[in-house]
């Protein structure tokens, strides 16, 4: 009898897992494996005093990844801020529109999972966004995660991929640079030095 009651929930969990598997094609699997990530640089956003997350520059094998780890009680508000910036940088851009749609879906999914009990020790909603530029791929992955926090230092303990997008390489490469510039407050040569050469050919300017 109990199994019957739990059936819809089990189906939902299975469905979510199946969807995550669906969104990750096998060819991208190496670039999604964060087990051996090397953190090159990291900074709190928007500032150390009022942080809602952090932006990291990672080396994942040959890929360069700019990873945004959001951990905030007001994720919808932070996603709203990302939306504003995205629309400024990418007006009327289909890739940006798809990215924002996916980001909102993930945010809502995480929101729906928040605990009902207000006394829960950690009510922060945690969302990750990876802009990945690999030698043979450029894509955006979004998901949820769990973490440990020791003296303000974040360690991701569990990652769940929820959305995977393969927009134009131009969009991924440029947005990766924009996010880095905005988070680290650098531009020009300093930005190039921070990121290093991105793998793969530069896409033609359109």
């Amino acid at each position: 009898m109990r199994v019957v009651r739990l059936l819809p929930l089990l189906l939902l969990v299975w469905g979510s897992a199946a969807r995550a598997q669906d969104v990750a094609p096998a060819r991208l699997a190496p670039w999604l494996d964060a087990a051996a990530d090397q953190i090159m640089e990291s900074t709190f956003v928007p500032s150390a005093a009022r942080k809602v997350g952090e932006v990291r520059i990672l080396r994942r094998g040959e890929a360069t990844v700019v990873e945004t780890l959001l951990y905030t009680k007001v994720l919808a508000r932070v996603v709203g801020e990302i939306r504003k910036k995205e629309l400024v940088h990418w007006p009327d851009n289909l890739d940006a529109a798809h990215y924002l749609e996916a980001l909102t879906r993930v945010q809502k999914q995480i929101w729906s999972r928040r605990p009902m009990n207000q006394r829960h020790p950690d009510r922060r909603q945690k969302l990750w966004i990876d802009f990945v530029v690999a030698p043979d791929a450029a894509f955006v992955a979004i998901g949820a995660y769990e973490m440990d926090e020791t003296r303000g230092e974040i360690r991701v303990t569990q990652r769940e991929l929820i959305e995977l997008l393969e927009p134009s390489p131009e969009y991924v490469r440029r947005n990766l640079r924009l996010i880095t510039a905005d988070a680290f407050h650098v531009d020009g040569a300093a930005l190039d030095a921070l990121l290093g050469p991105l793998p793969g050919p530069d896409p033609p300017i359109r």
Binding site: A76, R77, G80, M116, Q118, R123
Partner: protein, 754 residues
């Protein structure tokens, strides 16, 4: 004494001049208190609670500027509000200015609730007024603080910096604002300013103004009176020299003790001038009235001084004891007044008993007895009172007793009320402006309440929010409450914006409550939020706006709100009251309670002093009757005329008991010497002998006290007026009740004798 009047005269005068010069230097340095600190009682728990409140929520000393404009919500009116907001924000020491022009509302945005300006650009939009009206209709919480209900008066809330140790910047801000207010403006446009800082500033300014006015006025009044009564230059100069030296020494000592003048001690100089006259008047009157036979200078002076030393010392002692009983007050200003008035009175005895004889020793004794028409008139009046008292003692007792009984009936009508705004005269800008703001915007006073969980845990829970909302509604139901500022209206606006609804409702489940507080935690306007709730959400502030009422209403209102809080929040929470206005209300109650014990102490000390003087229980009892009667009458008068018992008027009984008893001491001392078995004859003789000096002394005291009626503060005006009235009634009692009682006392003793 003989040495002092002969070879010691010059060294004495040199020493006196040197010491007076020393104290004069310090007296000239007496400052005026700018923060009214000494008007607050020192109750550690109250101070600690208020300090904690300010540390958590910031200062509650914001200023409020009202801008009246016939077309406030049209472009011109809103432009004026915006211009004033910008200009005031630029004044040094102003932290922030909140007004319609920069106020924010919470609206639904793409990502949920977000802030939007109440007055959104473009500001030259012809539809601006309509847009702002719509926003105000949608956000009723803005009405009261930022705009009046009729939309003709705007409120600018001015938050000033908290610069510890800097006593000048507040005054500079207020002066800058007053200059702004004084600028010429279009017809129908006016500006009004109020706030605790303005009150402190104006009180300091009025104290300084009163010092400049009352001191010269007191000197002029005393000089005129002395000249009128004595018709003699020495009769003017010697008493004025005694009062001058006494005042200078006392003020110098006051400064050396590290004190500054406040609304209460501002009365010290004129009161001391009056109190220090008695000894001089008695000595000079005695010197002038002495038999012509005693014409040798020193003998004549010694003949006058010796019989007066003892009664004058006791008179000074009882007066000083009356004032010193004020040390039981918990208000530093009242304690300072009591201590230094007592010091001044004893000092005046010492100076009067030395300087006057020394001064007289330089003069040739009068060759003819002083006779003047006014003295004849006074003597006729005195003879009439002596005759009435000795022939109809029971009638006198009955009439005065009936008046006392009537006064006692009226006594319960006296209201314990301190109203800081109405302390000032109607013409005072603060009085006018505060009542204007009170009538048009939110209440000008604020009672502060803080709710917290007893276990120190967070208030973030559905039950916590519901309790806060219930408390808010209970507070609003009280008369005189015009609004409640708290986190509750913010939560309602947040919920409306998050739910994209129209109704201002609170979150109705734990998750939404928690998220609302999450939004508050992440909001950019942290300074504003921190004024309403502690950073860790463990305590919430309720800023209860109250009409410009006195403490007679505010104190029970605060108690009733506290009772509501304890009932609504329950045992798991603790609700406390604090804030500048609440402190005043509590201080007022404490002050009156302290004055009752102070008066009891004064009466006890005076009784002991009289008992020591007469060494007779019966005479001590008789001496008390004519002195308690006038105080009861004054209390009755206060009840009949609706004069409140406040900081100033609460001091009257304790201050005056020691003063009015002086006349009785003089009268009874002389009577006991004059009594030779015929009380009627002794009364006639005593009234004729001491009556003129008592009359003159009382007229001097009364008019001297009444100089204070030209002061700027109603409590000090009432103190002066009623103290004078008490002196008059006390003289009447001494001329009628004292002899009537003595008559009956000796009749009874004669009748009981074998």
């Amino acid at each position: 004494m003989t040495w002092l009047l002969t070879r010691g005269r010059v060294p004495f005068l040199c020493g006196l001049i040197a010491l007076t010069a020393f104290f004069a230097v310090h007296a000239a340095r007496v400052g005026v208190e700018t923060n009214n600190e000494s008007l607050n009682t020192r109750v550690p728990e109250q101070i600690e609670r208020y300090d904690r409140f300010r540390a958590t929520f910031g200062s509650d000393e914001d200023l409020l500027l009202a801008v009246a404009h016939p077309d406030l919500l049209d472009n011109d009116g809103l432009a004026l509000v915006a211009e004033l907001t910008t200009r005031i924000a630029r004044i040094a020491g102003v932290r922030r200015v909140f007004s319609l022009s920069n106020a924010q509302q919470i609206v639904s945005g793409e990502a949920g609730a977000e802030m939007a300006p109440v007055v959104a650009p473009p500001l030259d939009d012809p539809e601006l007024g309509a847009r702002v009206r719509a926003v105000l209709d949608r956000n009723p919480d803005l009405t009261g603080l930022f705009v009046s209900a009729d939309r003709r008066v705007a409120g600018l809330l001015i938050e000033i910096e908290d610069r510890a140790g800097d006593e000048r910047y507040r005054a500079a801000i207020i002066e800058a604002l007053r200059e702004l207010i004084a600028e010429p403006r279009a017809a129908g446009v006016s500006l009004h300013l109020t706030g605790i800082a303005v009150q402190k500033h104006d009180v300091s300014a009025f104290i300084g103004q009163d010092q400049r006015l009352l001191m010269p006025l007191a000197v002029a009044v005393l000089a005129c009176l002395l000249a009128f009564f004595f018709r003699n230059a020495l009769g003017v100069l010697l008493p004025l020299a005694v009062t001058g030296v006494t005042s200078i020494w006392t003020l110098g000592a006051y400064q050396l003790a590290g004190f500054q003048l406040n609304a209460i001690t501002g009365l010290l100089p004129p009161v001391l001038m009056v109190l220090s006259l008695a000894v001089s008047v008695h000595l000079i009157q005695g010197w002038l009235d002495a038999p012509l036979a005693a014409s040798e200078r020193v003998d004549r002076i010694l003949g006058v001084v010796r019989p007066l030393v003892f009664p004058c010392f006791f008179c000074s002692l009882t007066t000083a004891l009356g004032f010193s009983s004020l040390v039981t007050s918990s208000m530093p200003a009242v304690r300072q007044f009591g201590v230094f008035a007592a010091f001044g009175v004893m000092l005046s005895f010492g100076i009067g008993m030395t300087l006057v004889p020394v001064g007289l020793s330089f003069l040739a004794p009068p060759t003819a007895a002083l006779r003047s028409p006014q003295h004849r008139g006074i003597r006729r009046l005195l003879a009439g009172s002596a005759r009435t008292a000795s022939e109809h003692p029971w009638g006198v007792i009955a009439v005065f007793g009936a008046l006392t009984a009537l006064s006692l009936v009226c006594l319960p009508f006296v209201n314990n009320n301190t109203d800081l705004v109405r302390f000032l005269k109607r013409s005072a800008p603060l009085h006018r402006d505060t009542l204007y703001i009170d009538a048009n915007l939110t209440g000008s006073n604020a009672l502060e309440f803080v709710a917290a969980r007893r276990d120190g845990a967070s208030l973030v829970s559905l039950a916590g929010v519901r309790r806060m909302a219930a408390f808010e509604q209970a507070v609003l139901a009280h008369e005189h409450v015009t609004g409640v500022g708290s986190i509750v209206p913010v939560l309602r606006q947040l919920q409306r914006a998050e739910a994209r609804g129209e109704d201002l409702v609170l979150p109705d489940n734990e998750r939404d409550v928690a998220y609302a507080f999450d939004l508050l935690e992440a909001a950019p306007e942290q300074d504003l939020i921190r004024k309403l709730i502690a950073p860790d959400f463990t305590s919430a502030r309720f800023n209860v706006r109250v009409r410009a009422v006195g403490t007679a209403i505010a104190a029970p209102l605060a108690d009733a709100i506290l009772a509501d809080g304890r009932r609504i929040f329950g045992d798991d929470y603790v609700v406390t009251a604090t804030g500048a206005f609440y402190t005043v209300a509590q201080d007022s109650n404490r002050l009156v309670a302290a004055q009752v014990s102070s008066f009891a102490l004064a009466v006890t000390l005076v009784v002991l002093a009289i008992g020591a003087l007469f060494r007779s229980l019966q005479l001590t009892f008789i001496a008390l009757i004519p002195n308690l009667m006038p105080i009861a009458w004054t209390g009755g008068l206060m009840g009949v005329f609706g004069i409140d018992l406040s900081t100033g008027t609460a001091m009257i009984a304790s201050s005056v008991i020691g003063l009015v008893v002086d006349d009785t001491i003089h009268y009874m001392t002389h009577y006991t010497r004059a009594y030779r078995g015929d009380p009627a004859e002794a009364i006639r003789h005593t009234t004729a002998a001491v009556g003129p000096a008592l009359f003159l002394n009382n007229v001097v005291l009364v008019l001297g006290f009444w100089v204070g009626c030209f002061g700027s503060f109603k409590p000090t005006v009432y103190f002066s007026l009623l103290s004078g009235v008490t002196m008059i009634t006390a003289l009447l009692c001494d001329l009628y009740v004292t002899p009537a009682c003595l008559m009956l006392f000796h009749r009874r003793r004669t009748a009981g004798a074998p």
